[in-house]
Point group: C2
Chain length 189, copies 2
């Protein structure tokens, strides 16, 4: 998606430790027109799959999933990271390893909001090691729903998440895949 | 907003401790068509105010703000609750008291994303004690931006947040204001 790549080049900031900051438009300040274009692109990619629900994880997947859902006419469910008294007791759980924090954490969805009838599209902002998406897949599997596809805005192609998910035959599409980040420069696949 | 009140009656669940759960459509599963109607309603209320940016707080304000922002053609910024290495060092901070957790926590916005030129609309899902909105107002004030309005989806009118904010002459509008919740029944103002 050229518009997105252009924006990443213009406004992305490459920091130490292969961190790419896109908080100007994707996960702190949100450029809603760009999110609309991203949503349309996901719809174009996954249009034949009869998606019934979009699943994402808090926090940074929520706005992307909500805007995209308009083009699919389906609800969004976002998995919660924190145990909250507002979350139902009966939940589907996934486990996510955070490389940043060097520990596992749980993500949860109330059993009310995914069923075995659902055809799920997972949407997230980043795909790096693939951990968040594997955690979401656990939730889909536990609910015996069908995982139809995985839509990612930015893939760090130089990390191994994308390869791992594709070897599992998941239907993964990223809108911009980064081959390398060298001396602050971003090179796409 | 009748459509919203109807939905709250149908799908809201009143739990102990004056908790109203609306996770069926507003803050866990998201009914995107309803969020569109909510966004249009906020636009109608605040249309003359030349808003330049919508400010909300993670987590449950994000989807509402993102969908509403389409009608205002402005970016969204959401304040972050967690200190993350992905957040800039230079931030505007607000302090929020959580009655649920009985402690204060900080919310933060990078100084890059609000300026003294901005005319801010704050959007959030709930107004109860008004704490989250006061925290967001601190951020707006620190940035020397102008707070034009506060749009809330559900106000717990029986708590004191709304009164407090209106006494401060803030331009607060809620789409559904609850007078009381008795024996699981919801009565609007």
């Amino acid at each position: 998606m050229e518009l997105l790549k252009k924006r990443i080049i213009e406004d992305g900031r490459v920091l130490e430790g292969e961190v790419l900051k896109v908080d100007n438009f994707l996960n702190h300040q949100l450029d809603i027109s760009l999110l609309n274009e991203i949503g349309k692109e996901f719809k174009e990619i996954f249009k034949d799959l009869k998606i019934t629900k979009i699943l994402t994880a808090e926090v940074s997947g929520i706005a992307i999933a909500a805007i995209a859902a308009q083009y699919f006419n389906v609800p969004v469910v976002f998995a919660k990271k924190t145990e909250s008294k507002n979350l139902d007791k009966e939940t589907f759980e996934g486990s996510v390893y955070s490389y940043t924090k060097e520990k596992h954490y749980k993500i949860r969805v109330s059993k009310r909001y995914i069923s075995s009838e659902d055809k799920i599209l997972i949407i997230d902002d980043f795909l790096a090691h693939g951990e968040a998406i594997l955690g979401l897949k656990e939730i889909v599997d536990e609910a015996q729903a069908e995982l139809m596809g995985v839509g990612v805005v930015i893939e760090k192609g130089f990390q191994k998440g994308g390869d791992k998910l594709r070897q599992m035959n998941l239907n993964v599409h990223s809108l911009a895949s980064i081959k390398e980040m060298v001396d602050g420069k971003i090179i796409f696949e």
